[in-house]
């Protein structure tokens, strides 16, 4: 395959495949086809990462028009790293799609469900790769619209208002991004990110530029569900079909945070933005609040999916805390945790899909006694849970440890306290799940049909759980790469 195809393949392949399932309305065909396309996208992403590691950043000019006249991709190590994560996890999660939709999506919606899945993947990949601010907005909307569809595709009626609320919040967020882009354009006359970065220093004293930066950051923060703009997240994740929760938890908020990194560190220049506009202090405080509030709220949930969703709010806090240290160590910690959190939440949400498959519920009490009946699923929950707490030898430990180190190096002791408090809460909410799994008797005799889930669900869950263990021990791909990215960013900022 020619190198000219590589940068466009992860986006264009799913975009061109998605309309197929509107014409061929066979769920099984759609599922297999989507997995094949997911494999292509993942392979292309991996090849891109290798290329970038070998030869440095890849530039791609759409339509042959050089930037800033045309739209261009500039794929650096950070972009390739996040793209591999997104396309990889979404591919593994899509394996579970075939079985997952059987229980949670009505027949006439199943084939179209996979179209929306592919569109969402394409939107997220486009956001990662693009080097153009307005193109970012377009792909943000592709991913958002398909996400609203995915969330509401299931049988739970509560998903409908949840999706609508997400739509309203998400559109307000996207419109904020649009306002931000417009004001930046008014101040500089360009939409290309690299060009903008070059032209900003001389335009930085324009008020339109300040306001544009603030609106852009707030809009992205809504998409990233950063406290206190997280209101859409718990309901959307808890009511969506399980496969969708796994997909979104592993990818959507991650991409939003990636965009944040790209915009703040590459385009605006970390120093100027963080100091001049007091962004750093505000976001650090909000991220710390996210950790404490999210973890505490997770502790109070009775619904397992809501529990995990609130835990996500907390994890986003950890990631942003790392980023806002704004040095190489902090960035490395944030990026590592971003990578690992995708693996944890993917595994945990998929395990819950397996629990529901044979008629189990999603309350904590529904987990009772499953440790014996569904040993493999329970094992996935154990591994994912331990990783979430941050127990050594799991992936979750690595990111938190790096964060503590980075904070200690800067003497930010209160930040370590926040991490400890969050982890203690995590011990609490994960403990409640494990206690129900292993030490509680099944509620009634009624659940006799409950047995281990089919392989179609177990395999992807186990793969992600195994990844949690693997990246807890071998950190070259996660923390190692994150370190290289952070070093590059440190140079840029």
């Amino acid at each position: 395959m020619s190198a000219a195809w590589l940068p466009v393949l992860p986006v264009v392949a799913p975009l061109l495949a998605a309309p197929l399932w509107l014409v061929v309305r066979r769920p099984q065909v759609a599922w297999w086809g989507s997995m094949a396309v997911g494999a292509v996208a993942f392979a292309a992403a991996a090849a891109l990462l290798v290329t970038v590691l070998r030869n440095g950043p890849v530039d791609y000019a759409f339509g042959g028009w050089p930037p800033p006249i045309g739209i261009a991709y500039r794929i650096d190590l950070l972009g390739a790293f996040v793209l591999v994560l997104v396309s990889g996890v979404s591919w593994v999660v899509s394996w579970a799609g075939g079985r997952g939709v059987e229980r949670e999506v009505d027949e006439p919606r199943r084939a179209l469900f996979f179209s929306a899945y592919l569109l969402c993947l394409a939107g997220l990949s486009g956001m990662v790769l693009t080097g153009d601010l307005f193109n970012l907005f377009v792909f943000l909307e592709i991913s958002s619209l398909s996400t609203y569809v995915l969330v509401a595709a299931g049988r739970d009626r509560r998903a409908l208002p949840a999706s609508f609320r997400y739509l309203i919040m998400g559109t307000v967020g996207a419109t904020f991004v649009l306002i931000g882009i417009g004001l930046l354009y008014a101040g500089t006359g360009t939409l290309n990110m690299a060009d903008l970065a070059a032209r900003l220093p001389e335009a930085f004293d324009r008020r339109a530029v300040h306001t544009g930066i603030v609106f852009l950051i707030v809009g992205i923060a809504i998409k990233a569900a950063l406290f206190p703009l997280h209101h859409w997240l718990p309901d959307a994740y808890a009511r969506a079909p399980g496969v969708v929760s796994a997909f979104l938890a592993a990818t959507a908020t991650k991409v939003a945070i990636y965009v944040f990194i790209r915009v703040v560190f590459f385009v605006f220049g970390a120093q100027a933005t963080l100091e001049a506009l007091a962004v750093q202090h505000t976001l650090t405080a909000l991220a710390a609040a996210a950790v404490v509030f999210g973890s505490w709220a997770a502790l109070r949930q009775d619904d397992t999916k809501r529990l995990l969703a609130y835990s996500s709010v907390a994890q986003i806090g950890y990631i942003v805390l790392g980023l806002m240290l704004a040095d190489v160590a902090g960035l490395q910690a944030g990026l590592t945790h971003l990578f690992n959190h995708a693996l944890m939440k993917g595994a945990l949400f998929l395990a819950l899909v397996a629990v529901v498959y044979h008629g189990g519920g999603q309350r904590l009490s529904d987990l009772a006694g499953l440790g014996a009946r569904m040993p493999l699923t329970a094992a996935v929950i154990v591994i994912g849970g331990l990783s979430l707490i941050g127990v050594p030898l799991t992936a979750g430990f690595v990111g938190k440890w790096l964060l503590v180190e980075a904070a200690a190096a800067k003497g930010a002791w209160w930040l370590i306290a926040v991490v400890v408090v969050g982890s203690v809460f995590a011990l609490g909410y994960v403990g409640r799940m494990l206690e129900a799994l292993y030490f509680r008797a099944p509620a009634a005799q009624g659940g006799a049909g409950i047995a281990e889930a089919p392989l179609g669900l177990l395999v992807p869950a186990l793969v992600l759980a195994a990844a949690n263990l693997y990246f807890g021990i071998d950190t070259r791909l996660s923390a190692g790469l994150a370190g290289r990215v952070a070093a590059a960013l440190g140079g840029a900022g």
Binding site: A4, W5, V8, V12, L15, L16, A18, P19, L20, L22, V23, Y60, A61, F62, G63, G64, W65, P68, I69, G70, I71, D106, P108, R109, L112, S115, A116, L119, A122, G126, D132, F134, N135, V138, F139, E141, I142, L145, S146, Y148, V149, A152, A153, I179, L183, Y185, A186, G187, T188, G189, T190, L191, R199, A203, R206, R207, A208, H210, T211, F215
Partner: protein, 327 residues
Amino acid sequence: MSVEYGLTLTLLAFMLLAAWALARSDDLLAAVMLAGIISLASAAVFTVMDAVDVAFTEAAVGAGVATLLSVRALGVLGERRAAGRARVGLPFLVVLVCGGLLLYGTADLPAYGDPAAPAMQHVAPHYLARGGVETGVPNIVTAVLASYRGFDTFGELVVIFTAGLGVLTLLAGSGVSGARSEVDAGDRDIIVRQVVKWLVPFVLLFALYVQFHGDYGPGGGFQAGVIFAAGMVLYALTFGLPRLERVLPPSRLRLLAATGVWLYGGVGVACLLRGGAFLDYAVLAEDAVDGQHLGILLVELGVGLTVFSVMVLIYRAFTRQRHGGVE
């Protein structure tokens, strides 16, 4: 102050009045109409601001399609009034902060119509000076839309496709099929029937004109698709949905919607196969400008196809819904 600026300010003040009425009104139909009025007034503002393509689109989409769909949906929903208690405190605070920030941010913008503004300096002059020569298309908006920023437009097409797909997904299996008087009969009034029978061919002809004249004047695939769909909807309103479905069965509309996306993406892939970048139309023909012209023509056709079929599919999906009621 120039006359144009005064006109803009007057229109904006008028829109603000409408928005105020909208905020106070409990009547949902009135709210839809007021939003339509604001949208139509904004189309007038766009015209004053020389954005003829945008004005055209906003009038067709914001004032036309959005109002049509909203009224349809209101009928299906069976809701008339927004009776619930509004929240005041937090929204007011947020609006105050955001509005204050925006006023701060726009205060040192260059004055309205200033040719020395930063936005006019960097990229835009290239489009205006070279666009006509490099693409062979005198309407620079079309040149930028379909060629310089053709990848954005591909994304935009996918957004519309996603919306159609989403509406079909959400409303799948909940529609009404078979004979239903209201949907089927259309309008029995002889005046309406005669007028529509004469009008529809001209609407379709106009749509084709807009599709293929977009290189030289305002228009293009998107506007053409919307107008073509409007012609079809007018036909269905008058003669009943079944008559339209005989000509355009839903399966064919779905195929057309997909085909539009494939046509646009296919042109991109063809450019790749011929050794150019994605959507680099210059490689499509011997002469670069000829290639640009061909590429722009094809992708605009793709846009028109998908927009038209998605609009009709969405209209059909709403019309086929049972009215009111609870599951």
